[in-house]
Symmetry: C2
Subunit: 255 residues, 2 copies
Amino acid sequence: MSEANFVNEEESARPADEARGPGRRLHGAIAHKLGTAILSGKYAPGDILSGEVAFAEELQVSRSAYREAIQVLTAKGLVASRPKAGTRVLPRDRWNLLDPEVLGWAFAGEPDIEFVRSLFELRAIVEPAAARLAAQRRDKDDLKAMKEALTAMRRHTLTTEAGRAADRDFHNAILQATRNDALLVLSASIGAAVNWTTQFKQRARALPRNPIPDHVRVYDAIAAGDAAGAAEAMNVLVDLALEDTRTAMGQPDGV
Amino acid sequence: MSEANFVNEEESARPADEARGPGRRLHGAIAHKLGTAILSGKYAPGDILSGEVAFAEELQVSRSAYREAIQVLTAKGLVASRPKAGTRVLPRDRWNLLDPEVLGWAFAGEPDIEFVRSLFELRAIVEPAAARLAAQRRDKDDLKAMKEALTAMRRHTLTTEAGRAADRDFHNAILQATRNDALLVLSASIGAAVNWTTQFKQRARALPRNPIPDHVRVYDAIAAGDAAGAAEAMNVLVDLALEDTRTAMGQPDGV
DNA sequence: CTCCCTATTTACTCCGACATATTCCGAGCG
DNA sequence: CGCTCGGAATATGTCGGAGTAAATAGGGAG
């Protein structure tokens, strides 16, 4: 009955909140600190975070707080602890890289170019297929959400946070219209990567193209129920984004 | 303060030691219990797990153990706790459904048919594209791993756990050959779903086709570097699997 | 009578000490 | 010389209490 009220986790009120803080709770802050340290390579797989007591003492927190932070990292597959053996960083393939929080840690410092490429490749695979499904399954509410996101994108530009949020909303609405939970979960991961790269491109003064017409083409195809057209239009969109990103990053290595 | 040196003594000595059972640790067991309860729908989104103390008392464990279990669930996006408000189950779209542990909880009881369909749809999207990339990027070691998995599949059948493991190895080798971390993470999720459904189909006496030739076709195309052929062969494979699953599930009168 | 401000209550958060279990390492024995 | 047993070290599990933030209730003003 109070279903409309459980959304507040991080005070979504004003634009003053910058990009999901390090964690309001203490153990959240510790987890953030350790997580970024691991993702940035400061602790390599196989390394040992020696000494529960030593670490807690160095961070000036109690063992409980440190323990709960380790619990979070363990849940995300970053570390594993065994009695006497200590807490060691697991190999990369055990990491839950699609976890939104892990993704945030990965983008907190200087993210690995290869990893960003991976995410965009995943996006290039998933989003056209999602657009195809959305064209077949969307209903009126889905289209309404997409249209609203489009108008918001027109009003603000991609240089503002509001504009990027509208962009995310548009793609999210498409994922939502696929009626596929597994796909929907990917939106957070992809959205984070896209968001970061758009900001990156903006810093690099490399936002020449107007993305609106491409988005409109996708919308039109989905609204018309044209599955193949929607997939193709989305393909164009992600290909352009991939190309832009590649040039902005200074990767001369074309495919 | 980086103690990154005195590490690799027994690092690769034991390949897979931890993370076996549902939870050897106490808080792991609690998390498993609560996780399956949430995934099975016993606790719906918006519900409140009232009372840290009450719950800890009911489960006959200390508050710390319960708290660490809650911490795990929080890390996976299943719940969120706030002072005074209690610990409430988050809406489904916040759940980290691709987390291997969450997936395990989802398949612990009677998994939601819609969710299984979602996973197979995701697989049908991702795996052909992965096969295409693998055909372009595989090296000798990748091909060797695939070949070994294939011979193992021939020796055992899909009715045995060893055979299913070989199947997973084959698909995993393809994902590995894409050189894409983001795709690789999905293998665990997809593998779990596929594994469950093969067992399900076996129980329903619905394993008519010999899957080996289809797998061989995929292997040949990847080995030949034929990107389009690999994608198409994999497409056939997943389509057949999807069809089999659909028919097997269409008959609730299986066992 | 309605609205807003304050106070109380409630439940999470953090803490440090204690008890237990497991592992590593070395001493003693066959 | 190799094996086994026992002690030491370290991580896990437990406990109760102090602190803090938030929601609800109650009182006062308009």
